[in-house]
């Protein structure tokens, strides 16, 4: 089978009538849900486990294992589909919701049968103005046909699916923040454990799965878990939907084998970089993930490879000192959300880093001090470097703030700001230093130093300038 031949979810993207139930059924849709509602829940779970399906939202956690955390004696279990896609660079779930809403619904029926769910929710990003009516209409069609409601497909299984719309908060894509929001409050993440699978929505066991994860279930049930595992590599089954943006000739949403490399993705799938330029860096899975430079593009975009392949440099806190992920583990990068951002050789990496930090400072929920304060400081310091006002020591200051956030917060947003920052500094440190060398601050310090002063005195004058900041960042 060729690379581009098999499509599990995206086969009918861009076909206008693909959103209609009649079209979906004509192509075999809802047959697996019809089967599933009369199947033994444990056998569905066994297929999902065998499939090596891993969460497509960002963490890549094995779906079958997650489902297994639900206590066996649970009376009420909830399924929540995370459709709060807002990781910059990522726009794949939006496509699934818009072009293939029935596949998501069918997947939800299958998951609900396996987990014993009677009420399921789709937590949909508030800004998805165009996708909401599409999914609501698809749900209405499914209810009308009797696929949802009191007796799904005439069986004794009852299932309601309700769309819950967010109202503008990136943090609600974090599963516990999502649950806080769905309960009707501020989207504040919660400490784990307890994990949602044990104690989630309204204190009940809750499985939160990404849109793409759930949309794979009908195929897994039809072809068997093993077939899905065989499509993948190692401990990762299936294909992957990636969204590619930035400096490529054909940006868009592509369903691809997990073995595809960054270079193949840019050159073969996306038609190369415009204006004949070269790639300077690629963010492999949403802006939370450490970026790759041009020399690291031959690693497959598979979950484990991106974490472990030695061709990818380890992220450092300072030159020669590796960042500690905890327990002595080092950080290369991760597959994340499948949102790929390609940056050409003309891209200003300091500016790109600043814009990413600006986002995290804006979206920090404010609960944990290291993240709330740290993301603001990171933004200020990197902004002044970017604007040509950087000071000697700003690179070290940036790294130290980032290192102070990572691992010290309730949820992963703090890490999501710290990791890419350290990766930018590890791989493009020269660009930050060059901007500082030519900054107005350095020029002023130089002018203030006595004429013909030796280097040591110049350095002292600059250090005095830094000390005069009194720790304040403008």
């Amino acid at each position: 089978m060729g690379w581009f031949d098999l499509k599990i979810i995206s086969k009918h993207f861009d076909v206008p009538e693909a959103k209609e139930l009649s079209f979906y059924e004509k192509h075999g849709g809802y047959e697996q849900a019809r089967r599933a509602v009369r199947m033994d829940p444990a056998s569905i779970h066994a297929e999902v486990k065998a499939s090596n399906l891993r969460g497509r939202g960002g963490a890549g956690f094995p779906t079958g294992v997650k489902w297994g955390f639900v206590p066996k004696d649970a009376e009420t279990v909830y399924l929540v589909v995370n459709a709060d896609e807002s990781e910059p660079g990522t726009f794949k779930d939006r496509h699934i919701l818009f072009w293939n809403p029935h596949m998501l619904i069918e997947g939800m029926i299958i998951a609900s049968r396996s987990l014993g769910v009677k009420s399921a929710y789709v937590y949909m990003r508030g800004e998805m103005l165009r996708e909401y009516p599409v999914l609501q209409r698809a749900l209405d069609q499914a209810y009308e046909k009797g696929y949802l409601g009191e007796r799904c497909f005439g069986s004794d299984m009852a299932l309601d699916i309700t769309i819950y719309r967010g109202a503008g908060a990136y943090i609600c894509g974090e599963e516990t923040a999502l649950l806080s929001s769905l309960e009707g409050g501020r989207g504040w993440p919660r400490l784990k454990p307890p994990f949602p699978a044990v104690k989630g929505l309204w204190g009940q066991p809750t499985i939160v799965n990404n849109v793409e994860t759930i949309a794979n279930l009908p195929w897994i049930l039809e072809h068997g878990g093993q077939a899905f595992a065989d499509l993948g590599v190692g401990r990762s089954g299936g294909l992957r939907i990636v969204s590619v943006c930035g400096h490529v000739n054909r940006p868009g949403v592509y369903e691809l084998p997990l073995t595809i490399t960054g270079r193949e993705l840019v050159d073969e799938v996306c038609g190369g970089v415009p204006k004949g330029r070269a790639v300077k860096g690629i963010i492999p899975g949403g802006v939370s993930m450490p970026l790759l430079d041009e020399r690291e593009l031959d690693v497959p975009f598979e979950f484990d490879a991106l974490q472990q392949d030695e061709r990818i440099r380890e992220v450092e806190v300072q030159p020669g000192v590796k960042f500690d992920l905890g327990g002595g583990r080092t950080l290369r990068t991760m597959a994340g959300s499948g949102g790929v951002v390609v940056m050409d050789d003309q891209t200003d990496m300091v500016s790109a880093c600043w814009r990413i930090l600006h986002f995290f400072a804006d979206e920090s929920c404010g609960q944990c001090t290291p993240c709330r304060e740290g993301t603001g400081w990171l933004t200020s310091v990197v902004k002044r470097i970017d604007q040509g006002k950087g000071r000697p020591g700003d690179v070290e200051l940036t790294a130290s703030i980032a290192d102070g956030i990572a691992g010290n917060t309730i949820c992963a947003l703090g890490d999501a700001a710290a990791w890419p920052t350290l990766a930018f500094l590890t791989k493009f440190r020269g660009e930050f230093e060059a901007k500082i060398r030519s900054s107005t601050f350095v020029a002023q310090a130089r002018a203030a130093a006595p004429e013909g002063a030796p280097k040591a005195e110049m350095a002292a004058a600059m250090a005095a300038g830094v000390a005069n900041m009194e720790g304040r960042v403008p």
Binding site: T90, E127, L129, Y132, A167, S181, G184, S243, G246
Partner: protein
């Protein structure tokens, strides 16, 4: 005390959504949907609207206000009839979003989150709209019709000028959208 009243449409929504949540949790769960609908009715979520929603759902006003102030799509200040939102996040930034945003600021004579003097257009710089492959991207929310799909992709100065021209004529250029 406010003299405002939630519209019959909102009441119908509450009745429809209520049974979708466990009885003890429904009122609180409805807080965000009802705030969103109330914003459509009143144009913003001010203290009056907070009180109204709190009273209707039987929730403490402090909870409702705490929730309302957390979410960026709930406007605490009045916005214009058209809310023009330009994404400047990474995918849009590196394809020219700040040029587009600066053109909007200049032509409308407002800063970020500013509203034109005639109250028609509010301009906001927003975070990722999940359309990164087609950047720079803008979204226009029309106050009375918040759910009408109005996305504008692959913007450049020419296209944003055409959008601003249409808004100046008091219409949304749907022909340019997707």
């Amino acid at each position: 005390m406010t003299t405002k009243q939630l519209s019959p449409e909102i009441e119908a929504h509450i009745q429809q959504l209520w049974p979708r949540f466990p009885p003890d949790n429904a009122a609180k769960a409805l807080c965000i949907p009802v705030l969103y609908l109330a914003q459509q009715q009143f144009g913003m979520v001010d203290d009056d609207v907070v009180d109204l929603v709190a009273e209707r759902l039987g929730l403490p006003a402090a909870h409702v206000k705490g929730t309302a102030t957390f979410y960026t799509m709930l406007n605490k200040k009045p916005v214009g009839r058209y809310h023009l939102q330009i994404c400047t996040n990474i995918g849009c930034q590196i394809t020219g979003a700040y040029e587009v945003f600066d053109r909007c600021k200049k032509r409308l004579g407002v800063g970020n989150h500013g509203t034109t003097e005639d109250g028609t257009i509010t301009l906001s710089e927003v975070e990722c709209l999940a359309a990164c492959g087609f950047g720079p991207v803008a979204q226009i929310a029309e106050r009375a019709k918040p759910d009408i799909p109005l996305y504008f992709e692959n913007l450049d100065l020419e296209r944003i000028d055409a959008i601003l021209d249409a808004l100046a004529e008091g219409r949304v250029p749907t022909e340019l959208g997707s």
